[in-house]
Symmetry: C2
């Protein structure tokens, strides 16, 4: 997958709740289901240009939200730190403490 | 501090980057610096009612962002889990592993 497509997938994941239903439909067809602009235009009976403009505006909105809230950036940093914690937990000799560390780390991973 | 004031302080912390400069000024004077509505009105040479309406709308916006993104809710859950990790780290007998666990947990705490 191209880097930009991956980034948009992530940003969409984090900020989709802030988009309108139409923005969500177009983005999800284009980025998650790999529809072409023309196919989306046919589906919604609008021009290809209208779909293109909407998706470009939505991409810009997602980047603005990320610039302001940094949810993707922080999630990446958190993921690295949680991996490090997981490796440290592997080195703990007391199996009971180790098990609880691993479970708590897993709960933290689920929050992002 | 009243519960609602505390909640607004937290929501403001998480979502202030999404507010306009005027919204930020009013909210910060009212909730952080404890100005009265009348004092803010005097400061900005607008009516007390205008300040009140702006703050009420901003409070509603903050609650809408929280309903959609759950940043405060997740930060609270994360904080409980990080406390639990800290307590588990205290039980680790290998001091080197313990020290690295504690540092990594501290880095995670700083991310919220």
């Amino acid at each position: 997958m191209l880097e930009k497509t991956m980034r948009m997938n992530y940003l969409y994941d984090f900020y989709q709740s802030l988009l309108t239903p139409k923005q969500k439909s177009y983005m999800s067809l284009y980025y998650l289901d790999d529809y072409s602009l023309g196919e989306i235009a046919d589906e919604y009976e609008v021009s290809r240009q209208a779909v293109y403009d909407n998706i470009k505006r939505t991409e810009a909105m997602l980047e603005e939200y990320e610039a302001k809230l940094l949810l993707f950036e922080k999630a990446q940093q958190r993921s690295l730190l949680l991996n490090k914690l997981g490796n440290l937990a592997d080195e703990v000799s007391d199996k009971h403490v180790q098990q609880q560390l691993i479970e708590t780390i897993a709960s933290l991973e689920k929050l992002d």
